[in-house]
């Protein structure tokens, strides 16, 4: 049965405004779903029912029926556990931060909270957002609501699964190399990675600072636009945040794709791409053409090199950012160190999991004397080439289309022994992070096993309006039923 928590935020905001439902009813619906399914999905690391119900009651008491209010007021939300929340434990999926209770809020949550958002809890993720399957969490894997034996993708796996399973109406994740778009694709929801700097990174536990973005998981593109309208904007606490005036990203959403120049990225259909995935995206492109888009083919020739560059740049920045976990000021400390350096090494050896250690080692090596020029320096040049690829493509096209990920959800455990195979999951999402451009993944269909397939649109820097308009037009035309089998018995 469809419950309140299965609807879109846009629909629910209308019902709240009209007085047809209360914020408490909506929060209860969401919390009941968490109770019903989260023992199987394991999307949450920390649940905040009391915080949610108190907030909802306040909204019901103070917001008069029919009064103008934010589109996010009263809508149940989850935050990836790398986004700090004042007074609420924030683990980053790591043993290092198992008991860490931040003394401040991240800006993204400050903005949403100020607009009346209702926090249901903090979601599971790969440790320090490093991974593509959520299997690198110190707290165990998340299960894909479409197939409980499959991964939800990563690193924001819990946030994606929570929306897919109706545990929340929408959620936030972070996207450094595809960590919002890839899990969105694997879980059959909409995942938006905004332009770098459009949403403040303040209070986002840093992984790779030049690539990290805060993104959204929603059930519709319109919801993504509504959420972005609250999140976006200048924040002096993040020196890389852009001077963008606040705006309503839902405006112009219905203008369609007639005349829109859509470039199909040739590299997205090469070997290694699952046949059903390529077919679904090709079919969707035909729908765009029938809606009036001008479709052509384009190449991003440095795509493969982007993967190589990413696995030097991101670990290098991570090795520097994660130096702060030294057992002195906050987080875990190992017992029995003979001196400070020994204490720090033991703390880091015991507090970090295998993938985080792998990336710290990779980054430390790439930045070390004698290797810096050959690895990190060269990777930064490739970044320039990726930006040039996009510049050339966007000279002729308004948006680009490709599969989000080469495959649909894979089984838990299938790729854990082969880091390179895992890293390849992100080959189509990484270039957007290297170039700072916005991209969105929307469901385009299902594979033979019934698992959702994601299609990625990419637009130029600050081209969110065009991006959202294209995604909305396709989503409306496809009209997919995105209720996972898990919910049949709920």
């Amino acid at each position: 049965m469809t419950e309140l928590c299965d609807r879109t935020a846009t629909e629910l905001a209308g019902k709240l405004r009209a007085g047809e439902i209360t914020a408490v009813e909506l929060a209860e619906s969401s919390l009941a779903r968490v109770e019903a399914v989260d023992d199987r999905v394991a999307a949450f690391l920390t649940k905040t029912p009391q915080v949610a119900l108190e907030r909802a009651a306040e909204l019901d008491a103070y917001l008069p029926t029919g009064a103008p209010q934010s589109n996010v007021a009263g809508i149940p939300l989850a935050l990836k556990d790398v986004l700090t929340t004042n007074g609420i434990r924030t683990t980053a999926g790591s043993k290092m931060l198992e008991t860490y209770v931040p003394p401040y809020d991240c800006t993204a949550w400050t903005r949403l909270s100020g607009a009346g958002s209702v926090l249901i809890g903090k979601t599971n993720c790969d440790e320090f957002a490093m991974g593509s399957s959520n299997e690198n969490s110190a707290y165990g894997p998340v299960h894909n609501p479409w197939d409980l034996d499959a991964v939800p993708g990563g690193s924001s796996g819990g946030s994606a699964a929570a929306v897919a399973a109706g545990e929340v109406v929408w959620s936030l994740g972070t996207d450094t190399g595809g960590s919002v778009r890839q899990p969105a694709a694997l879980c059959g929801v909409v995942g938006l990675k905004p332009t770098y700097g459009l949403v403040s990174r303040y209070g986002l536990i840093a992984f790779a600072s030049s690539l990290d973005t805060v993104g959204t998981f929603t059930r519709s593109t319109r919801d993504a636009a509504a959420l972005l309208s609250v999140l976006a904007g200048k924040d002096h606490r993040d020196a890389t945040s852009l001077e963008e005036a606040p705006r309503d990203y839902t405006e112009g959403l219905d203008e369609g794709v007639s005349g829109l120049r859509v470039g199909v990225v040739a590299e997205g259909f090469g070997p290694g791409v699952q046949t059903d995935v390529a077919g679904s995206v090709r079919a969707a492109v035909e729908r765009l053409a029938s809606l009036g888009a001008e479709v052509g083919e384009v190449t991003l020739p440095h795509t493969d090199y982007g993967l190589s560059a990413y696995y030097l740049i991101a670990p290098s920045e991570a090795s520097s950012n994660l130096a702060r976990y030294d057992g002195v000021r906050f987080g875990y400390r190992a017992e029995g160190g003979t001196d400070v350096e020994d204490m720090m090494s033991r703390t880091r050896g015991a507090g970090f999991g295998p993938e985080v250690k792998r990336r710290i080692m990779l980054g430390t090596y790439s930045l070390s004397a004698g290797y810096y020029d050959a690895y990190y320096g060269q990777a930064q040049k490739v970044r320039t080439l990726i930006i040039r690829d996009y510049d050339a493509a966007f000279a002729n096209y308004d948006v680009l289309v490709s599969p989000t990920s080469p495959t649909t959800a894979f089984k838990i455990g299938e790729r854990t022994d082969d880091p390179m195979a895992m890293y390849l999951s992100d080959v189509f999402t990484i270039p957007a992070n290297l170039a700072g451009v916005p991209a969105i993944s929307i469901p385009s269909g299902f594979d033979a096993a019934g698992l959702p397939i994601g299609l990625q649109f990419t637009a130029p820097v600050l081209g969110e309006s065009t991006l959202l308009r294209a995604a909305h037009a396709l989503e409306t035309d496809l009209g997919l039923d995105l209720r996972p089998p898990l919910l049949a018995g709920v």
Binding site: T99, Y100, V101, P103, T195, Y196, S210, H236, A239, T240, L242, D304, Y305, S308, A309, Y311, L312, S319, A323, G327, R329, F330, Y332, R333, G337, T338, D339, V340, M343, M344, S345, R346, R348, G349, A350, F352, K357, R358, M361, L362, T364, Y365, S366, A374, Y375, G377, Q378, A379, Q380, K381, V382, R383, T384, L385, I387, M420, A435, G436, V437, V461
Partner: protein, 97 residues
């Protein structure tokens, strides 16, 4: 060819205590990952400028207005060990030095 790296040296730079098993595994895995990553050298020609940030900004300043900061006690609340409002660690200087 997989890249050979001096695991002990890198682990020391990273302040990471690793078991022998971990070192063995990392030596193999990092060698393979770096072999793939070294592909960047194939296209990064001398005339290509490096990019550190895709959307460059410089000299970003906020208005010079004092704002409240996190209270001392709140900043200390997550310390593994503290004493007298300060972070406590094992001895870092010899007592007779």
């Amino acid at each position: 060819m997989p890249v050979e790296i001096d695991i002990d040296h890198v682990a020391k730079l990273a302040r990471l205590a690793l078991s022998e098993d971990e070192k063995q595994r990392l030596r193999t895995q990092l060698g393979l990952i770096l072999e793939h990553a070294a592909k960047v050298g194939e296209v990064a020609a001398d005339d290509v400028e490096p990019t550190a940030y895709a959307i460059p900004r410089s000299n970003v300043l906020r208005p010079d207005v004092p704002e409240p900061s996190i209270p001392h006690a709140a900043a200390m609340q997550n310390a593994p060990e503290a004493e007298g409002g300060r972070f406590k660690v094992v001895r870092i200087v010899d007592s007779d030095a």
